[in-house]
Amino acid sequence: MQLLDIRNLTLELETPDGLVRAVDRVSLTLKEGEIRGLVGESGSGKSLIAKAIMGVLHQRWKISADRFNWCGQDLLRLPYQQQRQIISRDIAMIYQEPSRSMDPTATVGEQLAESIPDHLLEGSWWQRGYYRKKRALALLHKVGIRDHTVLSSYPYQLSEGLCQKIMIAMAIAKSPKLLIADEPTTALESTTQAQLFRLLASFNQLKGTSILLISHELETVARNTDTLSVLYCGQLVEAGDTATLLKHPLHPYTHALIQSVPEFQPELGFKQQLYALHGSIPTLQHLPIGCRLGPRCPNARKECVKTPVIERQQNHFYSCHFPMTGKSSHE
């Protein structure tokens, strides 16, 4: 069943220099039980899209989309209260710096207990407190924390990895259908990163929670996701199954991303130069017209001043006038 169906989402902002289109007609779909990766560097608008799904974008952003369906219901047409109700019931999000995303003045136990919704507690109202604490403890066990002293500590006393696990516990307290993870592992050590991804994968398998994993590192996303969407400067560049995408990237940007990771190229010699696109990511005020990769793309030609439409090749979506066909980069 299609959980999330977004078509041609556009996010615009009014700035002193004019109307800026931070996200330009991005489409995203998510099925039940799917782990989707959203890869993009800084300025690609991936965090904005996550915030738009959660409905927490600042009011000065103008959201427009052809379709913005959650389980068949169009969220943009619903009144605000209903929107919030649906989103708070079904979608949860975890953030990049966990210790900064938690209330520093409350203990972890209090915050965890607070995040458990009322309707999931059994018992009459005077027993609620006791059941709440019991559930909080159960949640901690689910994320793999055996040490009960964590409940009475404050966020600053705990390590980042522990904080991130607690954030996941708070997120799954209401059994959401979708978990959006916005760069959850950038602040963590590599051992904790592996633990975290195992945890997310276990939730996906056992409870069927869909996960939208947002990251700027291709390596982390490539190994832990089923499908992948690649963004550049607010435009959707390529989307499809992770394995196919890595083996046969059709867009030059995806190709460059894959090539810039030494791990995906076993033939690359030690200390050899990595493939890198020249130039740098354009700022919001100076976005190129048409395909935004134009100035940096090695294949760029005259037609690239027109934004390419999304084309489809067997579940593999790409938007490029001159895709790279027949190029195999990863075995």
Binding site: E189, S190, P262, S280, T283
Partner: protein
């Protein structure tokens, strides 16, 4: 042949105050030893609290080691004398934007560096500055810009220019590549490799990104709570880690 930098039995402990009168000894570094040759890259891997930043600070002169010595081409070297040490070892900060004075133009920053540590005349300084900027792919006109006018990647180059203008032999990169986007990181890595080949610079890469380490580091040292667990050629450390901790670390990036 004697290596460029050799560190022998470096020890450092910190006093952490626990309450009003008690102190706790924190062992930042315990008997750390390693060698670094010219044109080679040594990667120091370890989690926060393992002593990586302490090591960087000692090598650059901000902190003093309690015991142990730093040898330069076989002779004992005093890292605390900034003006002589910075001709040998230079430091790149993690956040390039924060490491540049926001109220000064780039050319003025570079002039100041040369003025404090060398005795060149004004024309010689100008020449050196334009040479260094060219080496890093920047233009002379960039010297008239303030730091907030640059993009992220260009700022890293400016920070590199400031480090390399004194022609050092060793560059310490303290998590300098961690916060960059992948395409930018690839560009900077290419630049660093290029410089290493052209000028024989040695790099001391302090990082947690093991994939990058595998690609560009000749030797790897795994640091855990101040102790060096595994030290040797990168391939050897990755294929035959001796300690449990290193094994766990390396397994976390395997397929």
């Amino acid at each position: 042949m004697s290596s460029l930098i050799e560190v022998r039995q470096l020890c450092k402990t910190y006093q952490k105050a626990l309450g009003l009168f008690r102190h706790k000894q924190v062992l930042a570094l315990q008997n750390l030893s390693f060698q670094l040759d010219a044109g080679q890259t040594l990667a120091i891997v370890g989690e926060t609290g393992s002593g990586k930043s302490t090591l960087a600070k000692i090598l650059v002169g901000i902190e003093q080691a309690d015991s142990g010595e730093v040898l330069l081409a076989g002779k004992k070297h005093d890292c605390a004398n900034y003006q002589s040490n910075n001709h040998l070892i230079r430091y790149i900060f993690q956040d390039a934007a924060r490491s540049l004075n926001p109220n000064q133009k780039i050319a003025d920053i570079l002039h100041d560096v040369l003025r404090y540590s060398t005795v060149l005349s004004f024309e010689q300084r100008e020449q050196k500055i334009s040479q260094t900027l060219k080496l890093l792919g920047l233009l002379n006109e960039h010297g008239n810009y303030y730091p907030h006018m640059f993009s992220g990647g260009q700022l890293q180059r400016v920070a590199l220019a400031r480090a390399l203008i004194l022609d050092p032999k060793v560059l310490i990169l303290d998590e300098a590549l961690t916060a960059l986007d992948p395409s930018l990181r690839a560009q900077i890595v290419n630049l660093l490799l290029d410089l290493q080949q052209k000028t024989g610079l040695a790099y001391l890469l302090i990082t947690n990104q093991l994939r990058l380490v595998r690609h560009i580091a000749d030797q790897t040292l795994v640091l855990h709570q101040g102790q060096s667990l595994d030290y040797g050629p990168t391939q050897q450390v990755f294929e035959q880690p001796q300690h449990d901790y290193s094994r766990k670390l390396i397994k976390s990036i395997q397929f």
